[in-house]
Symmetry: C2
Subunit: 487 residues, 2 copies
C-alpha cells in the first residue's frame, strides 16, 4: 500500500505557496492545492489513499459531525460503536455481497496466524447485523434505530482522491434501523432524508436527491435515494445514500421477531450513510480563487479580528479583545490574529482558510467607534457601528450563509440543462453541463446513454409531474433523469 | 482471533437477569455482569477482546470524552486524526520499540499481497512522529501540541477483560507535544496532570499519581507519571500515563528544529494517554450491589422521573412533563419512564443503570405539591417541595457527586496501609490491602519485593517529604512507594 500510481499527479511536487490556479478552469488542481494550503489535511502520509486530518480541517469536519449528531439525537437515533475487525463468518452471511466486495477488503491477522480470517470493516452491516439478530426477539424490541461514526476501509483499485475516494474513509456515519413493517421502514427513510436536508441547509447547498436505477441498488434491496452535488467541472459527486433494504438482509442474517400473534417474521431494514464528502461539497461549491469560503454554520472560526497596529497599539488591542469577548458571549466563534505579520499577509491567510467574516480594527476605528467588516463572499469593506455589534455580526454571518446558498443554487441553475435528444445531451455534457432528460427506466436505453465515456444515468427525480418521451426509445416517461459525468 | 481461552470464564454462560453477586466479595464476576446488565456493552461479538458499545454505555463514555475534549481545547491542545494503517518503515524507525511490540501487532494487507508490510496503529507514535519531522522546521513551529481520540490495536496474549484489557482499545486519547526545551516539555506535563486531575474530579475519584520505576519507562525516555486506581479487590489498575520522552524519540524520528542561532537541535517531547479505563474506575469505585452509581457529571441521564399511576393519570403525567421541561431548561438531563412496567420494576432497572437521582411523582405528590426524591447513593426517600425544584435537584446532584468522591476517598484511606517490613507488607497484601513502603529505588530491592506472585512496585509518590528506610536494604529513602497486586 505505498503511495503509488493511484495517487494524485501533484503529490510529489512541492506544494506551491499560492493557490495560483482558477477553480473554474482547473478544478482538480485547485481542489488538491486548497485542501493542503488551507491546512485541512496532510497528504504526505506514506500510505496510498490515507491522509492526516490537521487541526483546522478536523475542526471543520467535527462541526459537521456535531450537526448530524444533534439531528440524530433529536430524532432518537442512538449512537453506538461496533468493532473494526470483522470475522469472515459474519461477512459471508451475505455471500453475494461479500463476493462483490472481496477484492476491496483489507485482511488482518495476528502474528503467527496463517491466511487471515478477519477483515477490516468495509461497511457497517457485517459487524452489526449478526448482533441485531441477537438483540431482536419480539416486536417489543422494534424499532431499533442506531448509528455509528467510524472509519471504514476499502482497498480501492481506482485513483484515490483525498476526502472523495479514500482507502481509509474517515468520519463516516451509518444509520441502521430495523422495523416490524415495510411502512415503518419507509417512514424511517423519509426521516433520514429530512435530516439530510437539514445538514445540506447547514452546508448552504441545495440538495439534489435522485432515485437510483434498480440495478444499482444493493442486491435484494427495494430501492435507494442518493444525494448528489454538481462539482465546478460539471461532474456529479454522490454524496450520501438512503437505502430501503426491505427484508433482503434480514433473510441473510436471520433478523426475525415474534409478532403480536406469536408468529416469526423477518424484519424490515434501512441504512443511510455519509461522511467527509459533505466537506468536499462545501469546499468545491463555495470556494473561489482566493481559497475556501466556509458557511458560517460549519466554520470553526466565524470571525477573525485583525488589529491594525499603526498607532495606539494598546487601545487597538484592548478594543479587539473587548469585541472578541462580546462575540463569544453571543456564541460566535472568533479569533484575534495578533501575530507579527502584516495586515495584508493576515488577510491573505484567513481568506485561504475561508473565515466568513473579517473585522479590521485600527486607530481610526477605535477613535470613531466602528469596525471595518469584510464578508469573505463579497470582499468589500463596510463600516459597522460598534453599538449592538454582536447582533450585527450575527446578521452579517447569516447573510453570508444565505448568499452562499443562493450562489450555489444559481450555479446549479446555470449548469443543469434539459435536453430532448441523445445528440443534444451528449453535446451539452461535453460542454461541461449536467443534463436532465426523459428516460423510460429500461436498462437497454441506459446502456445506450452510458456508451458515452464517463457518462452515467445518475438517477431519477422522484416526482411524477414531468411528462415526456424517453430520448432513446421514445416511450412515454413521467420522470426527469440526471445524466452527467460522475466521480 | 475467535473468542477463546483468553476470554472471561462467564462468556458462554447465559447472563443472569439479576446482579446476584456482591461487589466486595466477588468483584470480577460483579464487574462482568454489571457492564452487561446495565447495557453498557455487548460481549457476544465474536472476536476475542472486542465488544460492541451499546447506546447507554456509549453515552456515558461520550460524556467522559466531552470532558477531555473541552479541557484540551481550553488548554490549546488541538484535535487531529492520523491514519489507522501504519507502514512498517514508520514503525521501524524506532527499532527497539518495534521489536518489543512486534508480537502484539495486528498485520494488515490488501488482496493478492504477500507478507503484510503494514500494521494497525498500536499507539500513536509511529504514525505521528514521521509527520512531525515534516512539520517542524524552525523554533517558530514549536510548541506543537496535538491529540487524537481513536481505537488502538494490540494483539493481547494476556486474558482480555472488556474496557480493562481489550484488543481493540476504544475511546483512546493520546496527547503528543513537541518543544524547543526540556523545561517547556516539563511544564507541558504538569499541564497534562492538571487536566487529568480535573477529569478525575468529574469522575468523583481522588487521583493517585506515582512516578514509575526507571526501568518501566519507555526506552530512552526521562520518566513517567502514571495514574492508578485501587479496585474493590485491592488490586491497582493503571489509569493514564504522562510520559516525559526527552529527546529519545526525536533522535529516532529525526524531529529537529533550527533554533534562533540557526543551529539544528533535537526537539523535546511528551505524550499522555488514557481512555475507557476512566469508565472502569467509575464503575468499580462507585457501584454497589444494586448496580452502577454514576457521578452526575458523567451520567447521560441525571434524573429519572417515575410517574406513580394509581389515579389521576393525566395530572400525574402532565406534572412529570412540566418538571422534566423545567429540569431540561436548567441543563439537567432527565428522562420520564412512562412505560407499562410497575414502579418497582422501574426502580430496579434505573438503579442498575446508576441514574444518580430518581423522582417519584404520584397523585399524593401532585395534590400536595412536592416530589419524592431518592438519591442513588443513599436509597432514602425524601420529600422535596416543588418550589424552585430545578435548583434543589441541582443541589441534590451536587451532593451525590461530592458524596461519591468522599466515599471513594474513604475506601482508599481504609485499604491503603503503611508497612515497615517485607513480612508485614506481604501479609497486608495477602489480606487484600495496598501497601505503602519505603524503597531505595534500586532494581535489586524491587526484584526482592516482586518475588511475591502478582505483586508489583507500582510507583513512587513524587514528593520529598517522607523520611524512612528501604524495607529491603535499609538504605535511607525519601519517598513512599505503592506496592500492590495489579491488573
Amino acid at each position: 500500500m505505498p503511495k503509488d500510481e493511484l495517487e494524485d499527479e501533484e503529490l510529489s511536487m512541492e506544494l506551491p505557496k499560492e493557490l495560483g490556479v482558477s477553480k473554474t478552469e482547473n478544478f482538480a488542481v485547485w481542489y488538491n492545492r486548497i485542501i493542503q494550503l488551507a491546512d485541512l489535511i496532510e497528504k504526505r502520509y506514506n500510505v496510498a489513499g490515507m491522509f492526516v486530518w490537521k487541526p483546522y480541517g478536523f475542526r471543520i469536519m467535527a462541526n459537521i459531525k456535531k450537526i448530524w449528531d444533534k439531528l440524530f439525537a433529536e430524532s432518537g437515533i442512538q449512537e453506538t460503536y461496533f468493532p473494526l475487525i470483522v470475522p469472515l463468518e459474519y461477512a459471508q452471511m451475505n455471500k453475494a455481497w461479500f463476493d462483490g466486495f472481496e477484492d476491496e477488503v483489507f485482511w488482518v491477522k495476528g502474528r503467527g496466524e496463517g491466511d487471515p480470517t478477519h477483515i477490516l470493516r468495509p461497511t457497517g452491516e457485517p459487524a452489526m447485523y449478526p448482533i441485531f439478530a441477537m438483540w431482536i426477539r419480539s416486536y417489543k424490541d422494534l424499532p431499533l434505530r442506531i448509528y455509528e461514526t467510524v472509519s471504514s476501509f476499502r482497498y480501492e483499485t481506482k485513483h484515490t482522491r483525498p476526502l472523495i475516494r479514500d482507502r481509509e474513509i474517515t468520519f463516516w456515519y451509518e444509520i441502521h434501523t430495523v422495523h416490524a413493517t415495510k411502512e415503518e421502514s419507509e417512514e424511517e427513510l423519509k426521516e433520514h432524508m429530512r435530516i439530510n436536508d437539514k445538514i445540506w441547509e447547514a452546508l448552504a447547498i441545495p440538495p439534489i436527491k435522485v432515485e437510483k436505477p434498480q440495478w444499482e441498488v444493493f442486491p435484494g434491496a427495494i430501492g435507494a435515494i442518493e444525494y448528489y452535488n454538481i462539482m465546478p467541472n460539471g461532474r456529479m459527486l454522490e454524496n450520501g445514500s438512503c437505502n430501503n433494504l426491505g427484508q433482503a438482509y434480514a433473510k441473510k442474517f436471520e433478523i426475525t421477531y415474534i409478532d403480536e400473534n406469536n408468529q416469526k417474521q423477518y424484519a424490515w431494514q434501512t441504512c443511510t450513510g455519509n461522511g467527509a464528502r459533505y466537506l468536499v461539497a462545501a469546499i468545491a461549491l463555495h470556494g473561489d480563487d482566493k481559497g475556501l469560503i466556509l458557511p458560517p454554520r460549519i466554520a470553526p472560526i466565524q470571525v477573525v479580528i485583525i488589529p491594525i497596529f499603526k498607532e495606539k497599539l494598546e487601545e487597538v488591542l484592548s478594543t479587539c479583545q473587548k469585541i472578541a469577548e462580546a462575540l463569544k458571549a453571543a456564541d460566535i466563534s472568533v479569533e484575534i490574529d495578533a501575530t507579527e505579520k502584516t495586515p495584508g499577509e493576515k488577510f491573505y491567510i484567513w481568506e485561504i482558510k475561508g473565515v466568513p467574516l473579517r473585522l479590521e480594527i485600527g486607530p481610526k476605528e477605535v477613535a470613531e467607534n466602528f469596525v471595518t467588516a469584510v464578508r469573505r463572499d463579497q470582499g468589500k469593506r463596510q463600516k459597522v457601528e460598534m453599538k449592538d455589534l454582536s447582533l450585527k455580526v450575527a446578521v452579517l454571518l447569516e447573510q453570508v450563509q444565505t448568499n452562499l446558498y443562493l450562489k450555489a443554487q444559481k450555479f446549479y441553475e446555470n449548469i443543469v440543462v434539459e435536453t430532448n435528444s441523445f445528440t443534444e445531451m451528449k453535446a451539452k455534457i461535453n460542454e461541461g453541463k449536467v443534463t436532465l432528460i426523459y428516460w423510460c427506466r429500461s436498462e437497454e436505453c441506459a446502456d445506450e446513454i452510458e456508451r458515452i465515456e464517463g457518462v452515467e444515468i445518475v438517477g431519477v427525480i422522484p416526482t411524477n409531474e414531468a411528462r415526456g418521451e424517453c430520448i432513446i426509445c421514445g416511450k412515454p416517461s413521467g420522470e426527469k433523469t440526471y445524466v452527467a459525468k460522475t466521480y
